[in-house]
């Protein structure tokens, strides 16, 4: 996978994960163009389109578009499963996830993604293991926070 973008129906970016090195300017340009292209698609159209020399796989969940750019030899259908798995993980973590959860907890959205994909490839195919890893990291942070609060003044 080259990159994954999450954006709203109004075209506002909610998450951007780039697995290829590009300048900020290039990223902005790509994001702008791609968002426009995907938002112009009609609801009945298929989830795949060709854009520049990449294959784009996108799916809309409620008010959010999940959009991945994959390479020519990558399997589009399994990419749909990747997107779906990520949504399931978010859903399990936040409990019935909605766009606001991702807006206000964007760091967590990144952390969850980073436990599922690494370097653009799937690293863990067990939902349970991904969620366990996040839980443990959260616990670690919580412990630290409590230590800080209870510390001497």
């Amino acid at each position: 996978m080259q990159f994954m973008l999450l954006f709203s129906r109004q075209g506002k970016l909610r998450l951007q994960k780039w697995y290829v090195p590009l300048s900020d300017k290039e990223k902005k340009k790509i994001t702008r163009e791609l968002v426009q292209t995907v938002l112009a698609r009609k609801p009945k159209m298929c989830s795949f389109l060709e854009w520049r020399d990449l294959k784009i796989v996108y799916k809309r969940y409620a008010s959010l578009y999940f959009c991945c750019a994959i390479e020519d030899q990558d399997n589009e259908l399994i990419t749909l499963e990747i997107i779906h798995r990520y949504v399931e993980l978010l859903d399990k973590y936040f409990g019935s996830v909605c766009e606001l959860d991702i807006i206000f907890n964007f760091e967590k959205a990144y952390f969850i993604l980073d436990e599922f994909l690494l370097g653009g490839e799937v690293q863990e195919t067990s939902k349970k293991n991904v969620l366990k890893a996040i839980e443990q990291a959260d616990l670690l942070q919580e412990v630290l926070r409590r230590q800080k609060v209870a510390g001497p003044f």
Binding site: K12, L13, R14, L15, Q16, K17, W18, Y19, P21, L22, S23, K28, K44, M45, C46, S47, F48, L49, E50, Q73, N75, E76, L77, I78, L80, E81, I82, R85, I103, F104, F106, E107, Y110, F111, D114, L118, G119, E121, V122, Q123, E124, T125, S126, K127, K128, N129, A133, Q136, A137, L140, Q141, L144, R145, K148
Partner: protein
């Protein structure tokens, strides 16, 4: 001064509360000022919070470069919370292009070697997301060590980090190849998945690695087989399919290993058949695995039966209610249509139905596939379908559809009349979208079908009378009426209903075309010339025509004015020559860039009508022999075609610059022949403006001690191509690396069919006469695709 800084979520709330863009900007600028101050003052406790806020505004599109150094500080901090945000910041704000990115290398190194599992995870994640080549080189050994770490959590990340490192620095393959054997025995799905990805990368970069890993094919087969037979596992199954991610990856690796390798392909045959038949296809996960299986079957040396099974699965996909599945099926079938043509033909009816898809990306593919499936036995039915599609298809597909139909008609037309009818129908339906050479092609076609002149001119007249807006149609019709106006007025033609046309009606129609604001200048030219020709074809007096011609003598359009003046002069001063000049045209030779014959033809005709066609190819009969060798009895060989370029053709040569092919993307040269010091090599050029044209320069060099004399090179290509050999630079290739002999071949390949080329050489070398006939292999695909 301790102003409590905003929490991240509070800032987000405030930003979202802004009612205008300007307000939002104000809030953000104010906050960024605070953040900058905080960074300057160096507040370690809240640094992570400040950076998190900065990352949020960065996502909204605001500048955040002043946070880069803070990422470094956070990563270097011992606190987990700091590291977490610091690494996230590094992934979002730092990249290869900034020198700052190298500064985190040391921190990463420390974290990899001394950190807790969670910290090692963060470091590996960051490295595999934004690690540059230098970073990868520096940290390769650390990552290699982690491949042996007891914790599977770390191992799985280390393996994928190794994948990234190899992508950045292929030489690191030597470090990461050896551990693979051991890693393949892992039971942890994540590690296994990463390992297979790693092996794929290694194999794609090095043929030696590919050879090395072929021996794990049986092991991979076993792993996949186990996955298939394992029952439902809550942890890894999706819709009843065991770990589809892993299955797909294994299948991909098998594809790479089995490609062009009989033995490996054979080892996987049974397994692939098993997956193909047993995978549950009710949901997307199963179809994803099935799709990958099909791709693998079609790419390796699989048994014929298995290939047919694979194509049939794709055919079934075409009937799936899920349009995503239909999409991948159409894409894959398109890739197969050349190599497995008959298998794909079986699904032609379904493909044709897909033309009706409302989604244009699907209908476009269906169109491409349909056009590729047209052959001589189904051409009538397919053209019917495609014509129907042309009437209702979306505008961006019309041009492709129209030219596709015309091309198919040209290749497979069962009769000339059908061909003319088809072109006519396309011109009427989608005239505005046809390519420029359609007009020339049709006039040439009609011209060559003498028995159909009457039929053609009547049909065109009726079409024109109904609609004078479609320019290509108008142009062809005008030309036809001009040429065969006498047949139009004769009244009877068996093929269509009797049509009674008066001279005045014909003239009126052409005048309408001349005057219409819809007519292009070129079209007007056709109409004017047609009127002129009618002056000799019609029986009535020519006053009306003379009037029109003289009016246009003062037309603003220079081209039209010139013609009109010349025609007027023809009437007034050279009336005795008029009939000869305006006689019916001879058949125009096709091939080479089309030139608007009209303007030049009518003036050149008088001079050139006397010249008998002189063949420029003295070896014509021997060429036919070669054609036989290539294609069996060829229809073209018997068709009486003048090989000499006729009026239009002579001008083509004048306009051409035969020895200076324009620059295009370089295609690699090919050495095709070598015998006793005489070498023949081919270099290829495809001029970008004429993609159907291929120029081959044959170069003969002689490194031996004796001259090569009486050297003749002949070539033959398959029937659908057109070949022209130009005169060679000489017939002697001097010894000892003397001046090479060159010869240019011009090949037209309008159908983009795969190129085949046979060469015949005769020469004298060392006192002996030599004859060699051979087919050129390994022609690069860029020569015809």
């Amino acid at each position: 001064m301790l102003v409590p800084s905003l929490k991240v979520q509070d800032l987000i709330e405030e930003i979202r509360g802004a009612k205008t863009q300007a307000q939002e900007r104000e809030v953000i600028q104010k906050e960024c000022a605070h953040i900058r101050a905080s960074f300057r003052d160096g507040d370690p406790l809240h640094r992570h919070r400040q950076l998190a806020k900065l990352l949020y505004v960065h996502m909204l599109g605001y500048p955040a470069h002043f946070g880069q150094m803070e990422c470094l500080k956070l990563i270097a901090s011992p606190r987990f919370t700091d590291k977490r945000v610091g690494y996230l910041g590094a992934m979002l704000l730092l990249d290869e292009r900034q020198d700052a990115h190298l500064l985190i290398t040391n921190s990463i190194k420390n974290d990899l070697s001394q950190g807790t599992q969670a910290v090692q995870g963060l470091a590996l994640c960051t490295l595999s997301t934004m690690g540059s080549a230098e970073m990868c080189r520096d940290l390769a050994t650390e990552v290699e060590k982690l491949l042996l770490q007891p914790s599977p959590y770390v191992r799985k990340k280390a393996v994928l980090t190794a994948v990234h490192m190899i992508r950045k620095v292929p030489e690191l393959s030597t470090i990461f190849l050896p551990p693979c054997a051991q890693l393949l025995h892992e039971r942890h799905h994540g590690i296994l998945l990463g390992t297979i990805t790693l092996i794929m990368e290694l194999c794609e970069r090095s043929p030696a690695a590919l050879k090395h890993f072929r021996k794990v094919v049986p092991q991979l087969v076993q792993i996949l087989r186990t996955l298939l037979t394992t029952g439902y596992s809550t942890e890894h199954s999706i819709s009843g399919v065991s770990d589809p991610f892993l299955q797909v990856q294994i299948l991909r690796l098998l594809r790479i290993l089995g490609r062009n390798h009989e033995e490996s392909s054979e080892t996987m045959n049974d397994l692939l058949a098993q997956v193909a038949t047993n995978t549950d296809t009710s949901r997307n996960a199963g179809n994803a695995v099935l799709f990958e299986t099909v791709l693998t079957i079609l790419d390796i040396r699989s048994a014929a039966g298995l290939r047919v099974l694979a194509v049939n699965i794709l055919g079934r996909f075409l009937l799936n209610s899920d349009k995503n599945i239909r999409y991948v099926a159409l894409t894959s079938l398109l890739r197969l249509v050349q190599s497995d043509h008959s298998a794909v033909q079986r699904h032609r009816p379904t493909v044709v139905e897909c033309l009706q898809e409302p989604d244009t990306s699907l209908s476009r593919r269906a169109l491409e596939l349909s056009l590729a499936l047209v052959n001589s036995s189904n051409v009538r039915a397919m053209t019917q379908e495609l014509q129907g599609f042309l009437q209702s298809c979306p505008t961006d597909l019309r041009a492709d559809c129209a030219s596709g139909i015309l091309l198919a008609a040209e290749r497979y037309a069962p009769t000339k009349r059908w061909h003319i009818d088809t072109i006519l129908r396309v011109l009427t339906t989608a005239g505005a979208h046809v390519r420029d050479d359609a007009v020339a092609n049709l006039t040439q076609l009609i011209g060559g079908a003498q028995e159909l002149h009457a039929y053609s001119v009547r049909r065109l007249y009726c079409a024109l009378a109904e609609d004078i807006s479609q320019q290509p149609l108008v142009q062809v019709a005008a030309w036809c009426i001009g040429e065969y106006g006498d047949l139009l007025l004769e009244g009877s033609c068996e093929e269509i209903e009797p049509l009674q046309v008066e001279e005045e009606e014909v003239l009126a129609l052409l005048e309408r075309v001349l005057q219409s604001h819809m007519s292009l200048p070129a079209t007007r030219g056709y109409a004017l010339t047609a009127l002129m020709k009618l002056s000799t074809r019609l029986r009535g007096d020519n006053n009306r025509i003379r009037q029109v011609v003289s009016i246009y003598g003062s037309c603003l359009d220079v081209e039209l004015q010139q013609r009109a003046v010349e025609y007027d002069t023809l009437f007034r001063k050279y009336d005795h020559m008029r009939a000869a000049i305006l006689e019916k045209m001879p058949l125009v030779e096709r091939g080479g860039p089309q030139v608007d014959e009209e303007a030049k033809e009518s003036k050149e005709e008088a001079r050139l009508l006397e010249a008998a066609p002189v063949p420029t190819e003295p070896q014509a009969s021997k060429l036919l022999d070669l054609l036989d060798l290539l294609d069996g009895p060829s229809e073209d060989a018997q068709h009486p075609r003048p090989l000499d370029p006729s009026p239009g053709g002579a001008l083509v040569h004048l306009l051409d610059l035969p020895c200076a092919p324009p620059p295009a993307a370089p295609i690699p040269n090919l050495k095709v022949f070598e015998r006793e010091g005489l070498q023949l090599s081919l270099s290829f050029v495809r001029p970008p403006e004429t993609p159907a044209l291929l120029l081959i320069t044959v170069t003969a060099t002689n490194t031996s001690g004796g001259d090569v004399t009486h050297f003749i090179c002949q070539a033959a290509v398959p029937k659908s191509f057109q070949l022209q050999l130009q005169a060679p630079s000489g017939d002697t290739v001097p010894a000892q690396g003397g001046l090479p002999m060159t010869q240019l071949l011009r090949i037209l390949n309008p159908n983009k069919a795969p190129l085949r080329l046979k060469l015949r050489l005769t020469y004298t070398h060392f006192g002996q006469s030599v004859q060699e006939i051979f087919e050129v292999n390994n022609l690069p695909v860029e020569t015809w695709q």
